[in-house]
Symmetry: C2
Subunit: 153 residues, 2 copies
């Protein structure tokens, strides 16, 4: 597949987006390429060529993405190449994990509340309030998915 300027520009923006999320630049670009690529399956050297980077960099980035469970590869009979693809399949699971990860701050807030004295009750009260909300939020996540299913038809 040959990439148009529009493709390249979109890949670039998806890359930057993921960089801001803490990933290294190339990892973000690869995510972009795998998403934009027609077949959704891209060979190792197609990545190397399209992104203009070294094999070692691609190898490391793909190892990382696989370790994080965000990408997989498949092989084809009589072809030693590996074809890499995003695991969009379980976006539900991924998204759930990301939400729970956000709510992880609750753990710290609760620990902070245990350690704090009563010298600033207003501060404590607000933190308790926030912690309560995070607990509520976590509980509500499954229901959210259910409601989505229902209204989807």
């Amino acid at each position: 597949m040959i990439l148009t300027e529009k493709h390249k520009e979109l890949i670039e923006r998806i890359g930057v987006f993921h960089e801001h999320k803490g990933m290294q630049p190339l990892v973000g670009r690869i995510i972009g390429l795998l998403l934009v690529h027609e077949e959704g399956e891209v060979s190792f050297d197609e990545i190397v060529e399209n992104l203009g980077v070294s094999k070692s960099a691609v190898s490391n980035a793909l190892t990382f993405l696989q370790a994080k469970g965000r990408c997989v590869y498949s092989t084809r009979p009589g072809d030693r190449k590996r074809y890499f693809a995003m695991k969009v399949s379980d976006w539900r699971e991924d998204f759930e994990k990301e939400l729970e990860n956000i709510a992880e701050i609750q753990k710290f807030i609760d620990e902070v509340l245990e350690v704090r004295t009563n010298k600033n009750p207003e501060f404590n009260c607000r933190m308790r309030d926030f912690s309560d909300f995070l607990g509520f939020f976590k509980k509500e996540i499954p229901a959210l998915f259910d409601r989505f299913k229902k209204q989807q038809v």
Copy 2:
């Protein structure tokens, strides 16, 4: 205020947590200190002493936190020092922003779908599904806050 080992250890863990979120180490430690500190208001040089870092580093980190709207300072009559505190007050707003930020990936997914051909309809279908969910999710956020308020009594 004198910090116990428990305080220091908690500050450290809160620091690492924020580092993983992409912030620079000292910024994370300062967040920890401001949360753990009894009064919730900490002077510039208390930060310098307790964290054992230079004035310049603290100055830059505080400028950053203020720019991000995560911390503020207040002064006291007849006292030139600045007392810094976290803005736990509007956690609601912050949290809402963070959720919307997550959902921002929808924008990219939609752009990707526009660019993609129909060579891999299953892939496209899943992405469309994910995009739909993200749209649903964004719409549901305000209702989530409302329900929290109600069940809170």
